[in-house]
């Protein structure tokens, strides 16, 4: 199949995936699209939302649509790292000899739902670090590679923060996106109720497989990005750092810590996928601006000035985008 065909297939597949997902998830178009972008781009997603908005359902439905093995890890304070990664157990073989056998943990799947990840202890959370970044895990000195495509979708409950362990910066940085799943609109709630009266099970069918995802990922990586857009992206990320000499006014005023270089990488990688999803063969400023929110909101820390001015992190990101646009003209 030549690349033109591949692009055509890409667009069709995306449309199909969205269509299937919408069978189980009402509304949340942005969330669905960004999750798809993250999967194709090879990134992980942190999903924040109140209980019952469909976070788990989305991931389960996604697993079915992508016909990828799916596992769910419910993080609790007593969850141990080995509960996530798996452990060696001693077993008797057929001959009756004792041997150690590795029993893989729930992390060994293509799609992993790390539910309420902020409830687990930092020790357990750190078990996710290596696998999220490098797609491999080391247990008792032995390294096990995850099967590609590997995708972690972690969830956070913004309400019950007592007794939780906020994710460390290092781990936050491993998530390509942080998406906020909002409470559905009334008409969406209407559809949800109607739909779930029929069945609570996910009805999405498999439409792509892992290999297709990998092919789509390879295709997306070839989308060209002009230097001006690259520079625009770099400026956007560096402008989040108040300590830099050329820091933007917004950063100086409202930001305590800025985004890491992974933010720039995530922006470009995801922008390529987004461009292709929308039928474009190049990355535009619009792609960068649209993805700035999910990429930066968990990577920058706003200060008390922003809180005093009643600005959310998304508001600050909006100001950064505005300043960056002005500077680039």
């Amino acid at each position: 199949m030549d690349n033109q065909e591949k692009v055509k297939v890409f667009s069709e597949k995306i449309a199909t995936i969205k269509q299937e997902l919408h069978k189980d998830v009402v509304g949340q178009e942005d969330i669905i699209e960004n999750v798809i972008i993250a999967i194709i781009a090879g990134g992980n997603v942190l999903l924040e939302g109140v209980p019952g908005v469909g976070k788990t359902r989305l991931v389960r439905s996604l697993g079915k649509t992508l016909s990828l093995p799916f596992s769910r890890i419910q993080f609790t304070p007593d969850l141990m790292p080995s509960d996530v990664t798996g452990t060696n157990v001693v077993e008797k073989d057929d001959a009756g000899k004792l041997k150690t056998v590795f029993r893989p943990g729930p992390i060994f799947a293509n799609l992993v739902l790390a539910d309420e990840i902020n409830r687990a202890t930092p020790k357990t959370q750190s078990a996710m670090l290596e696998v999220m970044q490098e797609h491999k895990i080391t247990v008792t000195g032995k390294t096990y590679k995850m099967q590609e495509p590997f995708f972690v979708l972690a969830t956070e409950n913004p309400i019950e923060q007592d007794g939780t362990y906020p994710l460390p910066e290092a781990q936050m940085d491993r998530f390509m996106f942080k998406l906020i799943m909002k409470f559905p609109k009334i008409n969406e709630l209407f559809d949800i109720v109607n739909m779930t009266q029929i069945t609570m099970d996910e009805t999405a069918q498999a439409v792509v497989d892992g290999e297709t995802i990998l092919n789509m990922r390879a295709l997306a990586s070839t989308v060209p990005v002009i230097d001006d857009v690259l520079m625009y992206t770099m400026n956007l990320v560096t402008n989040t750092h108040p300590e830099l000499e050329n820091a933007s006014d917004t950063a100086k005023k409202y930001i305590k810590y800025g985004a890491s270089p992974r933010a720039a990488q995530a922006l470009i990688t995801a922008a390529k996928v987004r461009a292709l999803i929308r039928g474009n063969y190049n990355v535009s400023y619009e792609d960068i601006d649209a993805l700035a929110y999910p990429v930066l909101r968990h990577r920058i820390k706003i200060n008390y000035n922003a809180i005093n001015d009643r600005l959310t992190v998304d508001d600050v990101i909006g100001l950064l985008i505005k300043e960056n646009k002005k500077a680039s003209k």
Partner: protein
């Protein structure tokens, strides 16, 4: 680049050219306008063509620089198209990855070019159109103004009307009378009187000052020309003085004397050249050379001076033939006496002196007429054409001379060397015309004396006046 992009590129190139032309015009027009108007108003001395050249050069430089700045390069054009056609960096990507060989880049180029092909070129807007239209209109307005501003005209002098005053008429009539009674040669006198009478008649009808001046100046030129015509002195003297023959040059010196005594002395010296033994031959050569020189003077036998010299030559020829080649002293002495050669030389001196004096009188009267006309009708020297040089009346001792120009100082009379005698100055006597002062000295002193006796002058003044006349009687200007 694909056809879609190229069509926009062509359009933007044309836009850049138009803008450059307008900018050039906007720079060149005010420069040309300013210079041209200043030139027209004669504030600066710059030719109209030079103003145009400077304006064009400025326009070309400005337009050229503008074009270099405005002409599109692919990157700038791509940016402009992405912005105006809302193509989200497609064109910029196409341009930046124009040479990329990977398939996605090729797809991207193809897709973008297709989109551009479907767009109309009007999508690429001519930026700041109003500004360029305004600049163009202003430039044209400036150029129109440059040509519309009228040239500075020299104020047309108002020609005042003229009506001859009574006193002018009387003065002119007096001038005619003076001329008629003057010692001017008859031909010149009659001509001058006729000119003045004609002028009088004409001026009575003349209505404008410019016409009056033209008529008066014409008379002045004519009178001056007539005097030049009748005065042969300069030409004859010059012709004789320029001869290679010493005797002829001596003759010119004799002509140079302005009083009879001096002229006679000069001819006496000339006689010494003519020795008895060589008389015939000397005469032959002398006469031939003199006639040759006279021929060069351009004057004919009717001229008084010419006639006097010719008479002298004829006389010499007549006597020369009688001279013996042999040394017959008694015969030659008789021929050399007062009845012979002596008489001829003496007569020549008188004839030539009279001729010169006549010519001087002609010049003096002519000058007087001219100066009076200028005074009566208020004509300045600048208004007159060049009347040429006057005759040089030679002083035989110094070789220099007095001219007939009224501007030259009259040191009083004529004479030899440094000592000048005032009593022979020519003066104008209302009854006698121009006469030597010495001739009327007694009469004037008598009249003055009568006034000194009966008048009320102070003793000091009386003493001064007596002393003046004493000097005149003594014949020395400085009283020596």
């Amino acid at each position: 680049m694909g056809e879609g992009f190229l069509k926009f590129k062509r359009k933007v190139y044309i836009d850049a050219i138009i803008k450059s032309v307008v900018i050039g015009l906007f720079v060149g027009a005010p420069i040309f306008t300013a210079l041209f108007i200043l030139s027209k108003r004669q504030i600066i001395g710059v030719n109209g063509w030079l103003c145009a050249v400077l304006g064009i050069v400025a326009a070309l430089i400005a337009g050229g620089l503008a074009y270099l700045f405005l002409r599109p390069n692919n990157k700038k054009l791509a940016k402009k198209l992405d912005k105006e056609l809302v193509l989200h960096e497609k064109v910029q990507t196409m341009v930046e990855f124009a040479d990329a060989e990977d398939v996605m880049a090729a797809l991207q180029r193809e897709d973008t070019d297709e989109r551009l092909r479907l767009q109309s070129v009007s999508g690429a807007k001519f930026t700041r159109l109003w500004m360029y239209i305004t600049a163009g209109v202003l430039s044209v307005a400036m150029l129109v103004t440059a040509f519309a501003v009228p040239k500075k005209k020299e104020p047309v002098p108002v020609d005042p009307p003229f009506q001859m005053d009574n006193w002018q008429q009387i003065a002119l009539e007096d001038l005619i009378e003076y001329t008629q009674s003057s010692g001017m040669i008859e031909s010149a006198k009659a001509y001058t009187v006729e000119e003045l009478q004609g002028l009088l008649a004409t001026l009575l009808e003349t209505k404008y000052t410019s016409e009056m001046k033209e008529q008066v100046i014409t008379v002045i030129v004519n009178v001056d020309g007539k005097v030049d015509e009748v005065n042969s002195y300069t030409a004859v003297y010059g012709a004789l003085n320029g001869s290679m023959d010493n005797a002829v040059v001596e003759l010119s010196s004799a002509i140079a004397e302005l009083d009879v005594a001096s002229t006679t002395t000069a001819f006496t010296d000339l006689r010494k050249i003519f020795t008895y033994a060589e008389y015939k031959r000397t005469t032959e050569v002398f006469v031939a050379q003199t006639r040759t020189a006279l021929g060069k003077s351009g004057y004919d036998s009717q001229d008084g001076l010419y006639a006097a010299v010719e008479k002298f030559l004829v006389g010499l020829e007549g006597v020369a033939s009688d001279f013996s080649e042999y040394d017959e002293t008694e015969l030659n002495a008789a021929l050399d006496g007062a009845e012979g050669v002596g008489g001829i030389f003496g007569a020549a001196a008188d004839d030539i002196h009279d001729a010169i004096v006549q010519q001087k009188t002609n010049r003096t009267v002519g000058k007087y007429v001219i100066s009076e006309l200028m005074e009566i009708f208020e004509i300045s020297k600048d208004e007159l054409p060049d009347l040429g040089e006057d005759e040089v009346f030679v002083d035989s001792e110094t070789g220099g001379g007095q001219t007939g120009n009224e501007d030259d100082k009259n040191d009083g009379g004529y004479g030899k060397g440094e000592q000048l005698f005032g009593s022979n100055d020519q003066i104008y006597d209302p009854e006698k015309g121009h006469v030597a002062y010495g001739e009327v000295l007694n009469e004037y002193f008598a009249k003055v004396s009568e006034q000194l006796v009966n008048g009320t002058l102070s003793e000091e003044m009386q003493e001064f006046i007596n002393g003046y006349y004493a000097q005149l009687y003594n014949g020395s200007k400085d009283g020596q």
